[in-house]
Symmetry: C2
DNA sequence: TACAATTAATTTGTATACAAATTAATTTAA
DNA sequence: TTAAATTAATTTGTATACAAATTAATTGTA
């Protein structure tokens, strides 16, 4: 009896997809207190490390299409967390910069990683192994295409 | 110097989110040949195992909200892969059933898991470890809520 | 047995996601 | 030096996702 390769149970991608969704669902109420969605939170984390950037750079780091970022960044701008201005050097580029309000938001987010950590509840070794596997897959998947 | 818990690099959820997205992106062109999206593919895999179901059952298995499934199932119906009919026993339930055309689609999908496996490119041990970790997280995250 | 509570699916509203087409600015090359 | 090619961001179109509200059917109970 040959193994059914299309059985859901035999898929490795399916649980990754589920995990991603469930984790984001878990974040949602915590992020709601900061008036952020998960993707907006990722973008804010990016700006807590890097004061100034542009759409292309953000997209390269977060693996988000510019067409996803454009409305998202407008949203963050409307909340006062970032500014959006065309570069004077090259007007094709949009300079995106975090505001003071955006920087202050970080303090409110400080408790979230620990809460999520408790929720995920992996040992140090498990988390490290998972981390490595995820980046290995990312590397491999990206190997051949753009 | 204390570790910055909000650094993107220190997040375990972020690479899971990236992996999920990148894997789905990788599936897309292969599934396009079957006229399926990734979520539609998941639902079809479900029906390749279970001929008949309903919205609630599908949602419980695939962790998809009924409001996501309603339009998706209508789409699969319009492609002729499933049928949708109110149960005569309890008209609240929608009986969803795979068609012959839907069953035949499986043959065309048979090569996809191997292609994706090559793309992910993990050893047997790595894949097993990852699989276990994903289901552990799913279990843990679901522990407290509904 | 009516009426309240529950249940299943749908609708509505908001926010991703990404491919493809478009726009506008800059660079390359004939 | 100007037309073609490239580049960055936006717009458009389609498809998830899920919470909250709604609708319709069934069940529980006073």
């Amino acid at each position: 009896m040959k193994k059914d390769v299309l059985k859901l149970e035999n898929q490795i991608c399916f649980p990754i997809y589920l995990c991603s969704k469930e984790i984001i669902r878990k974040y949602t109420p915590w992020l709601k207190e900061l008036d952020l969605t998960y993707t907006q939170y990722i973008v804010m984390m990016y700006f807590w490390e890097k004061e100034k950037s542009n759409v292309k750079e953000i997209g390269n780091t977060l693996l988000l299409d510019s067409s996803t970022l454009t409305p998202l960044l407008k949203k963050l701008e409307s909340k006062g967390y970032i500014t959006r201005d065309r570069s004077k050097v090259d007007e094709r580029n949009l300079e995106v910069m975090i505001t003071d309000k955006g920087k202050k938001l970080k303090a409110k987010a400080l408790s979230i990683p620990e809460k999520m950590g408790k929720c995920i509840d992996l040992s140090e070794e498990e988390a490290t192994a998972l981390y490595k596997l995820m980046y290995k897959i990312l590397m491999n998947v990206e190997r051949n295409d753009g």
